[in-house]
């Protein structure tokens, strides 16, 4: 996985890149868009996976505050109860949960 234009990457993209690098679990195929506290970043999982800052086409979207996202990613128990209703998903929800599960610490 590479981080696109590191010197211009937003904080969210830097966070996602760091998490993916550490993760040993496979990422779901396709392009994910994460929207968090005014920041947007995409994870494009194709032959050359890349994390990009900013807007663009995506197969599915996860929208949550940075605080909520970090809480979910730090939570050790089952994924769903921790999320409650503060996460909005668009597109394929199964892929979205698979992504969150993959990058959990």
């Amino acid at each position: 996985v590479t981080l696109d234009t590191p010197s211009r990457a937003n904080f969210l993209a830097v966070c996602l890149y760091e998490l993916i690098q550490r993760s040993s679990r496979p990422l779901p195929a396709g392009t994910a868009m994460i929207i968090s506290d005014g920041m947007k970043a995409r994870i494009i999982n194709d032959a050359n996976p890349v994390v990009m800052s900013g807007d663009g086409p995506a197969d599915y979207t996860i929208k949550a505050g940075l605080g909520v996202l970090l809480k979910i990613l730090a939570h050790k128990g089952p994924l769903l109860p921790a999320a409650t209703v503060r996460v909005r998903l668009r597109g394929n929800p199964l892929k979205a949960w698979a992504l969150l599960r993959a990058i959990r610490c």
Binding site: N10, F11, C15, M39, L66, V68, K71
Partner: protein, 468 residues
């Protein structure tokens, strides 16, 4: 000869004239030009300091006190050579008084040492910690009016000093504060504040060998949050309001490059679109859980509006990103800021009025961006909001003369802008005082000169600092 007399009085193991050692004491992290001392002397006691000062006076050789080895602003560069007096081996915590809330420390006592001592033996007490490396000197920070995570509540570390023991240029020992009566070091008042002669004096009036500094009662419950903020003006408004309401132990704003660099990213020259410009650290504490919740609720109300994202729990942040632990937990470690080619670090930090805070921050960050440096900036309201901190940090390649000159130009511009808005640089480099001397009140300059001449008639104590 001086060297033989130093060896005769202190022993050869305390006197070092090797070039390697002298180079270690010739420079600091900043763009300041190195100057070699002629000899490095390692003091182990007050008597050693007295001996060195008497010999320095006898031979008319300048003397520069040094402690932590992580020096900034060129304050410990021996401008006129002479003796570099290393005080780091004087590193005892002589007393911790739980009831009277102070500790008596020597110059070499580090933040880490205090953190361990209080954690292991005095859990009912707490102390503020600077963002300087944990191996640096608490006493030096107190003498330089540094800021810590408890500065919002209690002001600069210089304001916590009850009194000092100091060796004057003639080798005589003086004690200030209540310690002058020899019974307790618990307070400065009601003694005349002679301690002030040695705070922010940069070692030109005497060499401090002991310091009584205040400790504070620990609180049972603590919470730390991060809040992304999208514009500095709203962040300043929030921090000033929260400071006036006395809600928090600490409020600190960290600009966007700092947060990304803590995660290992290289900073850009401007924030990405939609990115928060600051991350605000909020510390809350109480001995009562219900009171803590009330404080938290009030903070949330003050944070209403589009300028802020939600509160992020620092504990889950550290759990997700363990590398942030050293930055978010205390004592903080900022070693990641030195992990770049050339390893140079310089800063302009200043205290000034809340009414001009937002303007000064924007101007400073714009100045940094226009000089092609990422605006690494730290903000903090101080002492309940009576004055506020702006701290601009520059990372650069110290091996490049061109870049050292660029940093000099940037720092001068930053200082000019800050002084125009009423912000006064702390840990003030000598070049700032010389460059902006005409702005200083002539009466102040005259009085300071008279004090210097009285305490150090031969001008041997850290020459080249302040306006000496």
């Amino acid at each position: 000869m001086l060297i033989e007399d130093l060896v005769g009085a202190l022993g050869a193991q305390r006197v070092d004239v090797s070039e390697q050692t002298r180079w270690d004491f010739a420079k600091d992290l900043t763009e300041a030009e190195p100057r070699l001392p002629d000899v490095v002397v390692r003091a182990g006691s007050v008597e050693h300091v007295q001996t060195v000062l008497r010999l320095s006076r006898q031979y008319k050789v300048p003397i520069t006190p040094v402690v932590g080895g992580f020096n900034m602003s060129g304050l410990t560069i021996p401008e006129c050579g002479g003796i570099a007096l290393d005080l780091s081996a004087m590193n005892r915590i002589l007393e911790v008084n739980e009831t009277d809330l102070y500790m008596l420390i020597e110059p070499g006592v580090t933040w880490e040492q205090v953190y361990r001592e209080l954690g292991e033996r005095h859990p009912s007490l707490r102390f503020g910690y600077s963002t300087a490396p944990p191996t640096t000197s608490v006493l030096a920070n107190g003498l330089l009016d540094g800021q810590t995570n408890l500065s919002l509540r209690y002001g600069t570390t210089g304001q916590w000093v009850n009194g000092v023991e100091v060796v004057l240029a003639d080798g005589e020992i003086v004690r200030t504060g209540s310690g002058a009566f020899g019974v307790s070091w618990c307070a400065g008042p009601p003694m005349p504040n002679l301690t002030g002669l040695f705070i922010n004096a940069h070692g030109i009036t005497g060499i401090v060998t002991k310091m009584s500094i205040q400790l504070f009662p620990a609180r049972r419950y603590r919470k730390r949050y991060l809040v992304p903020a999208f514009d500095e003006s709203s962040l300043c408004d929030f921090m000033v309001k929260a400071a006036h309401e006395e809600l928090c132990d600490d409020l600190a704003g960290l600009s966007w490059p700092l947060s990304k660099m803590a995660l290992g990213a290289s900073p850009g020259t401007s924030p990405a679109p939609g990115e928060p410009v600051f991350y605000c650290i909020i510390d809350l504490s109480s001995n009562d859980r219900a009171e803590l919740s009330l404080r938290e609720r009030r903070v949330r109300r003050l944070l209403k509006g589009d300028a802020f994202a939600g509160l992020i729990d620092a504990a889950s942040t550290v759990q997700t990103f363990p590398q942030l632990k050293k930055f978010i937990e205390l004592p903080a470690r900022v070693d990641f800021l030195l992990d770049h080619p050339g390893g140079g670090m310089s800063f302009i930090g200043a205290y000034g009025p809340a009414s001009q805070w937002s303007r000064a921050i924007t101007a400073g960050m714009n100045t940094m961006a226009s000089h092609n440096y990422p605006p690494v900036t730290l903000l903090r309201p101080m002492q309940g909001g009576h004055y506020n901190l702006i701290h601009h940090l520059v990372l650069f390649n110290r091996d490049s003369e061109e870049e050292r000159n660029r940093v000099r130009a940037l720092n001068e511009k930053l200082c000019e802008g800050l002084l125009d808005l009423g912000f006064v640089p702390y840990k003030t480099p000598a070049w700032v005082l010389r460059r902006f001397a005409s702005r200083l009140d002539p009466g102040f300059r005259k009085l300071q000169h008279q004090i210097k001449v009285t305490l150090d008639p031969d001008g041997l104590l850290n020459p080249g600092k302040w306006l000496t």
